[in-house]
């Protein structure tokens, strides 16, 4: 097709909806012929910076890649580090880790749904979802002391024990969320406008989804039951009863429904955790013995970093970890040369893997479908750029 007939349309880099990226669309009328995402506007060189930081300093650093989903990023990194160190966290700490990871998954999915709603003109969904994140952010704050950047999971355990009467407040928040999901369903999820905007739009079929390697809810909405929590279960996932939410349609609406299904599963998982969390220590004995006053530590139920952590030296070697973060499979790869800094640190985030979906899901769609598809992918630019 000659240049006169097509139009190159530049969208962004200033917030084409959420976050900083540029989209270059080749248009024939209002039909998209070619679509090329252009990223890097929020690249912070996390991998390079990590080479200059001690292992413990990298915990807050990896959280900055994805502020809506810090617990899972924190967990993925610490699992890789623990494999290098050859240490395991005690069972109670494993429960607390997954408790926080699932609380985080709920408020991260709400974040994505709110933005998605806003992108297709439902301000109500934005306000509701962001309002309903609060009880969960509040729970996370009770547990960790921070609203978003928890740095809660440390090598060998977690920083704090479960606060008193956390359980009751958590159960209240979970029942509240269950009621709210019914409201969402009525007002947004099966609203005729939402259905018209999302059904059959931005379809990624099963074969393409595997071929282009999308991850997380976007993959499961295309009919592939791949969830790291089942495929390579870590921490206490083998002890929890939950289902992998899968849909076959592969369209923008299916991706929304998978996220809602996952919120329901997370609610059930948190109930199970609160019901059967065992007593015990929250830090591995190997490190606990190094905490200055063991008795004071046990009364306070929180960990002051043992001095050893600042000079943590894993033995020479390599370790990989993968976890199911809210947006999909998160991969960490650490190379240690036996010093206090990693020789090489590699993160592949789910948003970076999902970037390729823009190139495929939007072909042949209308210009006006871009926000509907963009929002459905729950793409978070800082997480992709790292």
């Amino acid at each position: 097709m000659s240049e006169e007939q097509t139009l190159e349309l530049l969208i962004g880099p200033q917030h084409p909806g959420s976050g900083h990226m540029r989209l270059v669309a080749e248009m024939d009328g209002d039909v998209i012929l070619n679509f090329e995402p252009n990223i890097g506007y929020v690249h912070r060189a996390v991998e390079k910076i990590a080479e200059t930081k001690t292992y413990v300093q990298i915990i807050p650093l990896v959280e900055r890649t994805s502020l809506p989903d810090t617990a899972n990023h924190n967990l993925g990194y610490v699992l890789a580090l623990e494999r290098l160190l050859g240490i395991d966290a005690p069972l109670r700490a494993q429960y607390l880790r997954i408790l926080l990871a699932e609380i985080n998954r709920i408020h991260s999915h709400l974040y994505g749904m709110g933005i998605h709603g806003n992108m297709i003109g439902s301000t109500t969904m934005l306000m509701w979802a962001f309002g309903d994140r609060e009880p969960f952010i509040e729970l996370a704050q009770r547990l960790t002391g921070a609203r978003l950047s928890y740095s809660y999971i440390i090598p060998g355990g977690v920083r704090r024990d479960l606060p008193q009467d956390f359980r009751n407040d958590a159960l209240k928040a979970l029942s509240y969320m269950e009621r709210r999901l019914k409201d969402y369903d009525r007002i947004f999820v099966h609203n005729p406008v939402t259905l018209a905007r999302l059904k059959g739009v931005g379809v990624i079929n099963r074969i393409d989804a595997a071929r282009i390697g999308v991850v997380g809810p976007n993959l499961r909405a295309s009919g592939i039951a791949y969830d790291v929590r089942k495929i390579e279960p870590y921490c206490i996932y083998p002890d929890l009863d939950f289902e992998v939410v899968v849909r076959d349609e592969g369209d923008a609406h299916a991706r929304l429904l998978v996220r809602i299904g996952e919120i329901e599963q997370s609610i059930s998982m948190i109930r199970q955790i609160l019901g059967k969390i065992p007593d015990g220590s929250i830090l591995a004995d190997r490190y606990l013995d190094l905490v200055p006053s063991r008795t004071r530590f046990e009364k306070r139920s929180s960990v002051k970093f043992p001095a050893l952590f600042s000079g943590l030296k894993p033995s020479k070697g390599e370790a990989v970890s993968r976890v199911e973060a809210s947006r999909g499979e998160l991969f960490h790869y650490l190379v240690s040369d036996g010093s206090t800094h990693p020789y090489r640190f590699r993160i592949v985030t789910p948003s970076f893997k999902n970037l390729i979906a823009f190139k495929h899901a939007l072909l042949g769609q209308k210009l006006a479908d871009i926000p509907a598809v963009y929002g459905s992918l729950d793409y978070f630019p800082p997480e992709a750029d790292r």
Binding site: N38, I39, G40, A210, I231, F331, V348, K353, D385
Partner: protein
């Protein structure tokens, strides 16, 4: 294929010559390793080499998905050339482009692509190489 190793975490690691990478990828694709999780390049300036490490797995075969397969290969720092795998695994597209930007690896056999993460007019040492020095601001400058 020069070496096959079982890694500590029940993963499998294959070391191949850089010239054999395309062949190896085809072989693994036929064994249902259908997507690439990660491409990592690690710079070893003293030994004048860059290791290129691919981590691949499967979505179609969920038994196979339990394994992360590692493919290791080495290129020289002066001529960091290796064949692209984008025709075998389309999921590698942005991973290769990122590695070109940040580590200066040339993935031959594919059309030249615009920069992905770095500014389009970026020139000089690829920033993830060990020889790239970070300019400091403030009192050190």
């Amino acid at each position: 294929m020069t070496r096959v190793l079982l890694t500590k975490q029940n993963g499998l690691s294959i070391t191949v010559d850089a010239s054999k990478i395309l062949e190896t990828a085809h072989l693994l694709k036929n064994l249902k390793f259908d997507h690439v999780i990660s491409v990592t390049a690690t710079d070893y300036p003293e030994e004048n080499r860059i290791d290129v490490i691919y981590h691949v797995s499967s979505f179609e075969d969920l038994e196979l998905a339990k394994t992360i397969l590692e493919i290791r290969t080495t290129v020289s720092r002066q001529e960091p050339n290796i064949h692209t795998l984008v025709a075998v695994w389309p999921s590698i597209e942005f991973l290769e482009r990122e590695t070109t930007d940040l580590m200066g690896i040339n993935f031959g056999g594919r059309e030249a692509m615009a920069r992905l993460l770095l500014p389009e007019d970026f020139e000089g040492e690829p920033p993830l190489r060990k020889s790239y020095t970070i300019r400091t601001e403030g009192i050190d400058a």
